[in-house]
């Protein structure tokens, strides 16, 4: 896949941004088919937002891209390499921001960020310190370096998780529900951070979210997954007037007190 340069946030160096291609991806857990023949691609440097109701397979799809799940059928490639191969994780720098943050609870915020460069011996301790403090500064977290993850609020945990990803100098950044459980202002802040990272460092970003404001505000393209199938793929402008009634219902649900949905579900 064609590559545009990704600017490294810590140096003037530029590395190749990577694209992602998903071809006919299906995944089953036992008898339950979670993903059904999903096909789409994400261009280098693009922000792709994947939306869909809970349980539609969005997070499972994200796990396929980072190689944490193996496809039952189909193929996922990152920069043209098989995403399920361990070598791909060694060759392409991918960072996944988990819904819960998945911060290492036994380590301080600083050590959470320093773990990747230390383990991969990317730099000496002084240079690692500089990288970590720079990432914390970008996310306005300088004062939290020596706090434990348990001392942080939900919004701060998400920002620390993004900072931890940033220290990896990623070519591909994946976000799993980055604005869930946050107040509207913090959700908007996280959306701005994602867009800024894309604009300033040209990182390819794939965001799994329920957040319509995020999708309409920062996405280059939006995919909608329902029941394991990709039912819509287009630009945010396309989503403002969706043709598919299921997509319209999902994106713009109306509260109808006279005829509530749960009553319909009961019948």
């Amino acid at each position: 896949m064609a590559c545009s340069p990704t600017r490294n946030p810590f140096t003037d160096a530029e590395t190749a941004a990577v694209g992602v291609s998903i071809e006919g991806l299906s995944k089953s857990f036992g008898r339950s088919e979670v993903l059904k023949n999903v096909t789409f691609s994400v261009a280098p440097g693009e922000i792709f937002v994947l939306m869909g109701p809970s349980g539609s397979g969005k997070s499972v799809l994200l796990k396929h891209i980072v190689g944490l799940e193996q496809p039952s059928a189909g193929r996922v490639t990152v920069a043209g390499r098989d995403a399920s191969a361990e070598a791909t994780r060694q060759q392409v720098r991918m960072a996944l921001v988990f819904q819960s943050g998945a911060l290492f609870n036994s380590l301080s915020v600083y050590d959470n960020l320093a773990l990747y460069p230390r383990e991969h011996q990317i730099a000496d301790e002084a240079a690692i310190r500089e990288k970590v403090m720079r990432a914390l500064q970008i996310l306005s977290l300088e004062g939290s370096a020596h706090k434990a993850p348990s001392e942080l609020s939900g919004g701060m945990k998400k920002r620390v998780a993004i900072a931890r990803g940033l220290v990896m100098e990623p070519q591909l950044m994946l976000y799993d529900e980055p604005t869930s459980e946050l107040d509207p202002v913090m959700a908007a802040t996280i959306s701005e951070i994602i867009a800024t990272l894309k604009d300033e460092y040209r990182v390819t970003s794939i965001v799994v979210s329920h957040d319509r404001e995020l999708a309409l505000g920062i996405a280059d393209r939006v995919g909608i997954l329902m029941g394991g199938e990709l039912v819509s793929l287009g630009t945010p402008a396309d989503l403002r007037t969706p043709a598919d009634p299921r997509v319209a219902e999902f994106l713009y649900p109306k509260i109808d007190l006279k005829n509530p949905r749960f009553k319909k579900l009961e019948t």
């Binding site: 996944l96 819960s100 998945a102 290492f104 991969h120």
Partner: protein, 250 residues
Amino acid sequence: MNPLTAILEGIGSTLQLLVSAAGYTPTLWRQRARFIEQCYLIGYTTLPIVAILSFFIGSVLALQAGYSMSNFGAKQFIGSLVGLSMARELGPVMAAILLTGRVGSAIAAELASMKVYQEIDALETMNIPPAKVLVLPRLAAVLVMMPVLAIIADLVGWFGGAIVSKYTQSIAIEPEAYFSVLRRFMVFEDVLNGLIKAEVFGFAIVLVCCNIGLNTRGGPREIGAAVTRAVVVSLILILVLDYFVTKALM
């Protein structure tokens, strides 16, 4: 999944984890801070409870032996009975059982919670293998600390037996006589056999508990279930391995 398949899958994944962790042995020097931390957790924090328990096991052994051996005038041999029992069997077995309760359960809980809260997934996406940073330092630490725990268990057990032998009226054997018999009937091989057993038990416990923790799936309730499973499997394993290692060392 039927029980036989589950057992075979457990054995398979444990061996796979062992091979994977062993492959990262050259990184151990770089991970010395983790290794030292694990030595502290496995050795130092387990030591007091091992000492207390071994003292009373040695004491009870002396008391029971004194009670029955006095009947046929053989109470002067209590030292050898306590010495051999502690060195060859009770020292390593009790140290292993305490390691399971004190360390194995903690390892299973910590790794299961890391798995459930996606910290293990985060490590994998960062291309940091859990076998390297979470399993290898623990295995190396138990290999170093387990013989120390077993030796302490032996010594404190012998000492407990000596005190009871001296101060129990029906036994009344002086420590000099007690230790003289202990030395006469024991050889270095007895202690060495016990240390080999302790090493095997400790290694197996830590490996099994790591594997069960890392293979936990589901929510927070599964963390408790993983700890129970790790403790039960480790206790069974200690007794099964005890038989086979004893037989092999005879």
